[in-house]
């Protein structure tokens, strides 16, 4: 039997990168402490802040919403139905709505087809963009606009350590100074953008999945049917292969970048922003990328 590092009871989860194991209660304590450390260390949120949480119905976003509510934050969920009528999208909304109902949390559900007359597969077909490219642009734009329109102080996103390390690996492989300059657990609210925060950046996917399971969160376990061949997953697999032989490398890669690397890229993305002629959101161009994508799709 593996013993809990903290209380010596029966462990339910080993964390090789911390050379530790935890029982259920001590693990939930560990997880909350990591989130608190992220929030306080990066000055992400203050208790009076109204936070709009991007929730897909998956483990990361529901774990994030759960822990923020548990820590006392005023956290409202925001879910986008990206593919109306499709089983995976319908189930994702069901998981999200059930989570909100069980905990008495407020959920804003937004149907892309109803609001914009497109689903993600339709946008992909009409514009030639990759599925994940179109989906990411929709999500970033719509939640940023909703947060600004509704007066939220911050948007919280469930990106975990694996997500951030995979994005960093991709940016480093191309030495993309513009994206490296923006890679941070906190994106400041400025020029009409609401602040974006990633309170799970200190925790791996397995750690957020374990938290969600141990908290009894009924999340969407199935993988998005459109994600096959996604580059980010290949980067994650490469990092996992390194992590297998050297536990802690993934965290060291990302945290060392935050401590020593990102400062060298500051200012690389500086551009003057103005209001999009179509939607009013900040953009360096006359029309923002999202509105240009819709224009292209409508042609």
């Amino acid at each position: 039997m593996t013993k809990c590092t903290r209380c010596k009871g029966r462990a339910v989860l080993e964390l090789r990168r911390h050379n530790a194991a935890f029982c259920k209660d001590c693990y939930l304590h560990f997880f909350r402490e990591q989130v608190k450390r992220a929030i306080e260390g990066e000055d992400m949120l203050s208790p009076p802040d109204r936070v709009l949480v991007a929730v897909s119905g998956g483990k990361d976003s529901l774990a994030l919403w759960d822990v923020l509510a548990d820590l006392g934050y005023d956290a409202t969920g925001y879910h986008i139905v990206l593919w109306t009528g499709e089983e995976y999208a319908t189930e994702s909304l069901v998981h999200t709505q059930k989570f909100a109902d069980e905990r008495g949390l407020k959920l804003i559900a937004y149907d892309l087809k109803e609001e914009r007359d497109f689903t993600i597969p339709e946008l992909r077909k009409a514009t030639g963009r990759s599925t994940c490219g179109a989906c990411g642009l929709v999500k970033r734009h719509e939640i940023s606009k909703a947060a600004a329109d509704l007066g939220f102080d911050a948007v919280a996103i469930g990106h975990n350590l694996d997500d951030e390390a995979a994005v960093l690996l991709g940016n480093v492989l191309r030495w993309d100074a513009k994206y490296l300059s923006r890679q941070s657990p906190v994106l400041a609210g400025e020029d009409g953008f609401v602040k974006k925060v990633k309170p799970l950046y200190r925790l791996t996917e397995r750690e957020t999945a374990a938290y969600a399971f141990l908290r009894g969160i009924d999340y969407q376990v199935e993988e998005c049917p459109l994600v096959a061949g996604n580059t980010q997953i290949r980067y994650k697999e490469a990092l996992d292969a390194i992590e297998r032989h050297s536990p802690g490398t993934k965290a060291a890669f990302y945290h060392s970048f935050l401590d020593h690397g990102r400062q060298h890229f500051e200012g690389s993305d500086h551009v003057e922003l103005r209001a999009c002629d179509s939607c009013g959101m900040p953009t360096p161009n006359d029309v923002c990328s999202f509105c240009r994508m819709l224009e292209q799709a409508n042609r």
Partner: protein
Amino acid sequence: MAHIVLRNPRRELDVDGVKQVKVILRDLDIDPETVLVIRGEDLLTREDYVNAEDTIEIRPVISGGAS
């Protein structure tokens, strides 16, 4: 025989006798750091044993896509 349920894609199989989680994962060529091993309401560590009458789920934790 212990019953094993794997996800993404979903498939099921049976294994003989009492086995340690790490042996089951090794035999299935699964990296323990990429899954949760679930028995009922409980998580199992790689040192735990799966009994012949148990049903366990091996649930992948990796996800990806648009950010």
